[in-house]
Symmetry: C3
Subunit: 315 residues, 3 copies
Amino acid sequence: MKLSEIYGILNLEFSGEDIEIQALNSLGRANENELSYCDSPKNAKFIEDSKAGAVLVTEQMANLVKSKAIVVENPHLAFAILSKPFSKPLFYEVAESMIDESATIMPNVHIGSNVKIGKNTVVMAGAYVGDNVVIGDECIIHPNVVIYNDCKIGNECHINANAVIGSDGFGYAHTKMGEHIKIYHNGWVELEDNVEIGACTTIDRGVFEPTIVKTHSKIDNLVQIGHNCELGFGCIIVAQVGLAGSSKLGRNVVMGGQSATVGHLSIGDFAKVAGRGGVTKDIEGKEDYAGYPVMKLKEWFKLQAKMLKVFGIKR
Amino acid sequence: MKLSEIYGILNLEFSGEDIEIQALNSLGRANENELSYCDSPKNAKFIEDSKAGAVLVTEQMANLVKSKAIVVENPHLAFAILSKPFSKPLFYEVAESMIDESATIMPNVHIGSNVKIGKNTVVMAGAYVGDNVVIGDECIIHPNVVIYNDCKIGNECHINANAVIGSDGFGYAHTKMGEHIKIYHNGWVELEDNVEIGACTTIDRGVFEPTIVKTHSKIDNLVQIGHNCELGFGCIIVAQVGLAGSSKLGRNVVMGGQSATVGHLSIGDFAKVAGRGGVTKDIEGKEDYAGYPVMKLKEWFKLQAKMLKVFGIKR
Amino acid sequence: MKLSEIYGILNLEFSGEDIEIQALNSLGRANENELSYCDSPKNAKFIEDSKAGAVLVTEQMANLVKSKAIVVENPHLAFAILSKPFSKPLFYEVAESMIDESATIMPNVHIGSNVKIGKNTVVMAGAYVGDNVVIGDECIIHPNVVIYNDCKIGNECHINANAVIGSDGFGYAHTKMGEHIKIYHNGWVELEDNVEIGACTTIDRGVFEPTIVKTHSKIDNLVQIGHNCELGFGCIIVAQVGLAGSSKLGRNVVMGGQSATVGHLSIGDFAKVAGRGGVTKDIEGKEDYAGYPVMKLKEWFKLQAKMLKVFGIKR
């Protein structure tokens, strides 16, 4: 799309040299034919080094942009509005899929365009495998699982019934009228090898990048993994956990049942969060945590004991 | 069904004028050919103005009924027993559906009887669209979504994979023996325009009335919306929230991840409930809340700080 | 499989009399042609009375085994490794199913091998009924429900849309390298009569035994029931509850919304756990509970009141 057309969509007057904008991207990843945005002073530091061909900014940040600054009142909203015309189509161009002859595809399965399915993999009845999906060897995709376009599944992965891999993240920009403008997500989900996903678990795709679940991680039923999360090697995520967007878990992190994160934080290697723990900030590895907001497990035990004692409560 | 037959089902002796009862309904909505019930002194005030042709009541409330009082020990249980013979059939009479020629219906989709589907709407593989369902223009019904009979979906709605719209609410009456008698739900779910529903989210239908999600409301993954809830314009419901039956949310209410309500309460316009907040009573709008039971957010911060300080806990 | 082959899989040197091992089983249930394991001193007392033909043990416990002791460093891990070759196949031998002629099977349904479906039962579109499944009379299996192999559904059960019955439990043994070795589950799920299961609810099968939901129990939407749980007559499990593995609930237990158990515990008859309650140990029946960890409801109310008062918090 021409930059001038983008100005048109945003009801702005265009002047200067017109360039081709091929995609939206983050400040760090955008190239000269991509458009990015900066909506918060916190991220202003990334503008300077960005290679983006144009950047949506507020007036105060306009002078930081070395390429084309598109000045708008609300850059996040402008970005959301543009995410629709730049979203990938629901269905891609038809292209033949490559399904290994040792794979089993049950009836009533949807296999999209340009899909690759590896050796001995079984796709069970009612599953939906979107366009451009890659599934490795020795996987079991259980009944009624949905894998959206562009997702990548490694070898020896089990995805249990009715799980959903690659749905759009829950991201919106907000108008002054209280409407919420959907941010279309062009990322994907990547499960490495030996990953197991529980029944009715949902994993959202990233905005531009993948949501990643690394090798040997195991995720129980009814878990929510938000957009742009990253789970390290060998994580254990127990039932009904909710990881908000951009939670970065190191290796062998354990999240107990119904625990959660508020997103945009990191959890160190080998950390264990007890059931119902609520992680609200970065926490270090090799430590046990509990409570909401989380504290170290032994502090939580102390808190429980003192509370009961001081208030004269029987358990 | 004749009133005398209803007496038969309840093992009561019938006398007096026999009338035709066409449906069950609430005291406020029932007409003279409908039967209602009152099981609690709290609702006795609604008996007087009810136009119901007959009312199931306990002996103490019998004299309040102007039409026919059906005296039973447990009116709620009698109502539950009658909800089965008065339930709508699982499948309606066959009638042609009206699917706009610009709509896309993928294979393996079930389209029921008398369905209407609007312009450019896409119904993806494995979706179930029940009888009498109306879906507007520009919607995407993602793979394996289930929309039960009678539900109404507005324009530009996205319902993500494996979500369930219009399942029966979780309502039972209880016998002295500890059995639970199912209340069949004859209501429906109504999503207005520009509503997005997350993957594996469930929205139950109302008993008599619709469960309503108003325009521009956005609901994340794995959320439970109970029967007879009402969400105002532009609500944001984050993942794994649980709204119990008859929760009424005003406009632009935000419910953080894993927060919940106990049902039969209202939340004012622009209220924000933090993640894990538990709403147990009516709360006013334009205010931030947290904790379980919820308090104002700033009181919750104070509580956390004092608790740690007084008990000497490190976070 | 010959015992000598099992030694081979575990990279152990075999000597002595070779026997046929037909299955893995728990110490209490194993017979002389089955192999069991004991990984904790806590369970050493069960070794003595076990009829297992061979037992995986650590060196310290080897002398307790009357039959063949297979000494390994990590018996739980050895057991997990063996659970794969001893797992049941994904698809059984083809055998005719017996579907009562009064039953309704909608299109796009998968009916496995050797399935029995009773009178007037309806299996709705997109449902998956695995091999060896038995479904009684007057049931409704709603759209896109998945019932895995070997599960048993009684009479008059309703399983709502997109629920999953009989997925593998979340059980793994751990290597020193931080890998998690899946324990394949050979048990099943058994729903007795008049059970209702909510939309997107997941019930895992037991390791060797069934996960059981007894007559008249009602389970709401988005509930997780772990492997080897047992729910007594007439339990009420409200939305988003999580019961961890081997939770044993007596009759007419009520679990409020989003409440949970940590597993391997029992809850007495007629106990009620309030919403968000977290059960961490055995609790007695005929009592109301709340909080996490749970205490008696009236103690919880006292705790809330004192906390607010002492800290000067307004609610």
